[in-house]
């Protein structure tokens, strides 16, 4: 029993990371039709920014953690917005080219991170509480899992409230449905593009700092490896569906933990099999509309 609880909570913690990446991917794809390969780089950069802050401050304090989270999110947001503004926007409506540009950006930035921070993992320490455990139903759950889950829930809630109650949110919801009609109502939809990239980048940057605590290290490959699972999550959840991404994140990560524990480390393969099964039964994903 305690193992199951531990696996579920750890799985949800990992799922929280997937969601922080997938939410941005899904929003960007939904509004702009762009599959953003550079999204992993936003995450990595956020993680390194958080790391640099932690190095300059008192490593293990809560204030440091908070500061690195904020800085990670801000750096992610700024870099993502700049990417949209300088690269993606120039290729308006040319989706293949937009994907290609983000591919090039992903290659170039990972190489750049290699050059700056080295290819080896850099280890990260958080507040002491992070490495302690809390007992739930007999399971000793590492505390960082809770932080991850809470952060992902807050981000989900924040995005939902933003979409529901702000004017930009209104524009984004309308734009997902029919972008040209939004411009035909006299609204500059490109501003919404930048906003969506910034939100996605912020979530990814935040995810980067949290991922560095979850895994205990940062490496230039960090974002890329999480990005692939985020892709799987977005396809399983249904392209462009935020709720789908949230559900699929939890599902995929928990399944992965269980397979890793009970089926001899086959978590990654099980996830791919799940993807294949979803495609066979429901090609549009769990909550996807028509592809």
């Amino acid at each position: 029993m305690s193992t199951i609880v531990l696996l579920i909570i750890t799985g949800l913690g990992l799922g929280a990371l997937y969601f922080l990446v997938a939410s941005g991917l899904s929003l960007i794809y939904g509004l702009m039709g762009v599959l953003n390969f550079a999204h992993g780089s936003f995450l990595t950069l956020g993680a390194f920014a958080g790391l640099e802050i932690a190095r300059r401050m008192d490593g293990a304090s809560w204030i440091t953690l908070f500061a690195s989270l904020v800085v990670g999110a801000v750096v992610g947001a700024v870099v993502a917005a700049a990417t949209e503004f300088f690269l993606i926007r120039r290729l308006y409506n040319r989706h293949i080219e937009q994907v290609l540009v983000t591919v090039g950006l992903a290659l170039a930035t990972v190489a750049l991170f290699d050059g700056i921070w080295g290819t080896d993992p850099t280890y990260v320490t958080g507040p002491a509480w992070f490495s302690e455990t809390t007992e739930i139903l007999g399971a000793k759950v590492p505390n960082d899992r809770f932080v991850l889950i809470i952060a992902a829930v807050l981000v989900l809630l924040g995005i939902v409230l933003f979409l529901k109650f702000t004017r930009f949110g209104l524009i984004i919801r309308a734009g997902v449905e029919n972008r040209s009609m939004v411009t035909a109502l006299g609204i500059d939809v490109r501003k919404a593009f930048t906003v969506v990239f910034a939100i996605g980048g912020a979530a990814a940057g935040l995810g980067g700092v949290l991922a560095s605590h979850y895994f205990g290290y940062v490496s230039p490959q960090l974002g890329g490896s999480l990005l692939i699972f985020a892709f799987i999550v977005t396809v399983i959840g249904g392209l462009g569906s935020l709720a789908g991404a949230a559900i699929a994140s939890a599902l995929v990560a928990v399944l992965q933990q269980f397979a890793n524990y009970y089926l001899g480390g086959t978590g990654d393969l099980t996830v791919v099999l799940l993807l294949a099964a979803v495609l066979l039964i429901r090609p549009t994903g769990l909550l996807g509309s028509k592809a």
Binding site: R94, I232, P283
Partner: protein
């Protein structure tokens, strides 16, 4: 000017044949191109590099078949390259089969896997297809890294030389491998060209343009896409096998997403939809990659301040940046640029806008 436009199909093949003959003679002559080649063309080091360029050309052609002709944007093409390399490596290591039967066995396995995974991935189209192929390739990458007793894990798999003919082994026989790579490129080029002109090739081109219309005239596009996918995969596997021989082994990088992206970069650099573009793109990329790596470790770079040194010492950073610039400012890649120059900067038909269409224009002239 307008030289290319007026070339007849047989002229293209004649030029191609002449280039192939010249390429075949390279190991026998002493040709030096300082700054581009590391040494004279008869030296093993240079031949190794040229053979690699030829293999990348073949691989790019197989991806051209998938993406340029079939319109299937796969992010998992490296999987089949890796299947060829690892498959042959494992067969040679674990069985007593000699080289040719071992290759046959590997091809048979690749056909089955490509057919199965292709049938699954082709249930979705567009961006979903891209993500799904990526996921399958990633699963392959995980398998390779998690099973070191079979694949050598991150260390890579060494070529078991016992059953490989002697003339393909050793530094001194590099030129034989070079010729094998050249022969493979010629075969792949012809296969791809023939496929494009076959009935199935026309159907897959038509499907790329308008899938619904294909269904309305009574053809099921799924099968023809699957056949295209399988052929492209087998070609990639063949390249992987020769690559195994050339490099005397294979590393996990061959199955990584980065490697697929490299192939994509090559094809886009050369010009989507153009066979010649894929070949030229691969050669340019390989030579550039090699030169940039040499540059990165040179003293000139080491002496620069950090803000210049760090980016310049990362070949992938420069290639990635170059790639972005090509996508932004050079639609149609090298093939598109050559064609625009040939036409004196005037586009023949303003309605043809996208890079693939410009490149396709050229194919029309070749046919």
């Amino acid at each position: 000017m307008k030289l290319l436009t007026h070339m007849k199909p047989w002229m293209w093949w004649a030029v191609g044949g002449a280039i192939a003959v010249f390429a075949a003679l390279l190991p026998l002559i002493n040709l030096s191109i300082p700054g581009i080649l590391p040494g004279p063309t008869y030296t093993p080091g240079t031949l190794q590099l040229l053979a690699l360029a030829l293999l990348f050309s073949s691989l790019a052609l197989s991806y051209h078949l998938l993406f340029g002709v079939g319109g299937m944007l796969s992010f998992g093409h490296a999987l089949y390259f890796a299947l060829g390399a690892y498959g042959l490596g494992i067969v040679l290591k674990t069985t007593q089969l000699s080289l040719v039967p071992a290759m046959g066995l590997t091809v048979a396995a690749v056909i089955c896997i490509a057919y199965l995974l292709g049938a699954l991935s082709l249930r979705v189209t567009g961006i979903s297809f891209a993500m799904v192929t990526l996921a399958f390739a990633q699963a392959g990458n995980v398998l390779v890294r998690r099973n070191p007793q079979i694949t050598g894990g991150d260390e890579g798999l060494q070529l078991e030389t016992q059953n490989v003919p002697d003339f393909l082994l050793g530094v001194l026989n590099t030129r034989n491998l070079y010729w094998v790579a050249l022969a493979l490129l010629i075969i792949v080029f012809i296969v791809v060209a023939l496929f494009e002109h076959s009935r199935a090739g026309h159907v897959v081109t038509a499907t790329r343009e308008n899938e619904l219309r294909v269904r309305v005239i009574g053809i099921r596009p799924f099968m023809v896409k699957l056949v295209t996918f399988s052929i492209a995969s087998v070609l990639a596997a063949l390249v992987g096998m020769v690559h195994l021989l050339l490099q005397s082994g294979v590393t996990a990088r061959a199955s990584s997403a980065d490697f697929t992206l490299t192939i994509l970069v090559i094809v886009v650099l050369g010009g989507v939809g153009s066979r010649w573009g894929a070949v030229v793109g691969a050669i340019v990329y390989t030579l550039l990659d090699q030169r940039l790596t040499a540059l990165a470790s040179s003293d000139a770079i080491a002496g620069l301040p950090a803000i210049l040194r760090i980016p310049l010492s990362e070949p992938l950073f420069i290639l990635g940046t170059l790639f972005i610039l090509v996508v932004l400012f050079l639609p149609g890649g090298i093939a598109g640029a050559v064609q625009r120059m040939d036409k004196g900067g005037v586009r023949r038909n303003p309605a043809k806008e996208t890079s693939s269409e410009i490149a396709r224009d050229k194919i029309e002239e070749v046919t």
